[in-house]
């Protein structure tokens, strides 16, 4: 192990593959080390989708539990983080199935969220209606759109996490934007 330019400890490739192999064999210490290395990335990924810190924490715990349960299926050559992201995304999609957006998307919440970088040309009412229209989109489209459009994550990472091709991600984003536009038009908001 060596220290990187930013002071973060970096594992040498041999040590990393050794750690992953130990994890595969069920070594709890190795799992804890992987957890410490990747929990922020996994939490951040989930938070970008669910936008609720408390739910993101619960889903992060569930993700790492699932990761440990599925350790035997992990291929050390594929990299831990993309695999973890894939599992986190699946768990998050399940969570979104039971999520009731109407109960959480209030005008106050939208106002709070947009207080920092709000465009004065976009009223609070339009922001709320946009958020509500977005919440009505199918889950698959919503996740692709929020990761690609709002969070500006690379299409390749989104594709890997959703288990689809990059083209399919682009298609989902296009469909999400089109549906969103139709919904907003029905509410009298034209782009």
């Amino acid at each position: 192990m060596r220290s990187g330019s930013n002071g973060v400890l970096i594992r040498e490739p041999d040590q990393a593959s050794d750690l992953l192999e130990k994890f595969r064999q069920g070594d709890l210490d190795a799992f804890e080390e992987l957890f410490r290395l990747h929990q922020r990335a996994v939490y951040g990924w989930i938070l970008r989708i669910v936008r609720n810190p408390s739910a993101a924490e619960d889903l992060t715990v569930e993700t790492f539990w699932r990761i440990y349960q599925a350790r035997a299926r992990f291929e050390t050559t594929r990299g831990f983080e993309p695999w973890a992201r894939r599992i986190a995304t699946n768990i998050t999609l399940d969570w979104l199935r039971s999520w009731k957006p109407e109960s959480e998307l209030s005008a106050e919440l939208i106002a709070d969220q947009t207080a920092v970088s709000a465009d004065p040309g976009v009223t609070a009412e339009i922001r709320l209606k946009t958020a509500q229209a977005f919440a009505r989109l199918p889950r698959g489209l919503r996740v692709a759109a929020i990761l690609a459009v709002v969070e500006e994550q690379p299409h390749k990472e989104i594709a890997g996490a959703l288990g689809i091709s990059v083209t399919a991600v682009k298609l989902r984003v296009f469909r999400a934007v089109r549906l969103l536009r139709k919904d907003l038009e029905r509410q009298g908001i034209t782009p």
Binding site: E32, F35, R36, Q39, R40, Y43, G44, L47, R48, R51, P53, A56, E57, T60, V61, E62, F64, W65, Y68, Q69, I110, Q113, T114, V116, S117, A118, D119, V122, I126, R127, L128, T130, A131, F134, A145, I146, V149, V150, E151, E152, F174, V177, R178, L180, R181, L184, P191
Partner: protein, 83 residues
């Protein structure tokens, strides 16, 4: 939908739901250490009971159907008809 409309909708979306990174600097992280919660979760057994029940039910159903076909071979064409 033209490119202008598409960009406008994307802009509205970013206004309604601003990026997480922009709100949380530096990168977002959990408010508490989640490792103890992961350990507690590991101590619990997977909630797979419904699946096990289904497996048991499937086998019972199959055994029942086999018993009926052995006892009443004439019922086989009827079963095949309804499958």
């Amino acid at each position: 939908m033209n490119a202008h409309d598409e960009n406008r909708i994307k802009h509205l979306l970013r206004q309604a739901l601003p990026p997480v990174e922009a709100e949380a600097k530096p990168a977002p992280e959990p408010s508490i250490d989640l490792w103890p919660a992961v350990l507690r979760r590991l101590d619990t057994q997977p909630a797979e009971q419904p699946r096990l029940n289904w497996v048991w039910f499937d086998w019972a159903l199959l055994a029942g159907v086999l018993a009926v076909t052995v006892a009443f071979p004439a019922s086989i064409p009827m079963l095949l008809y309804y499958l």
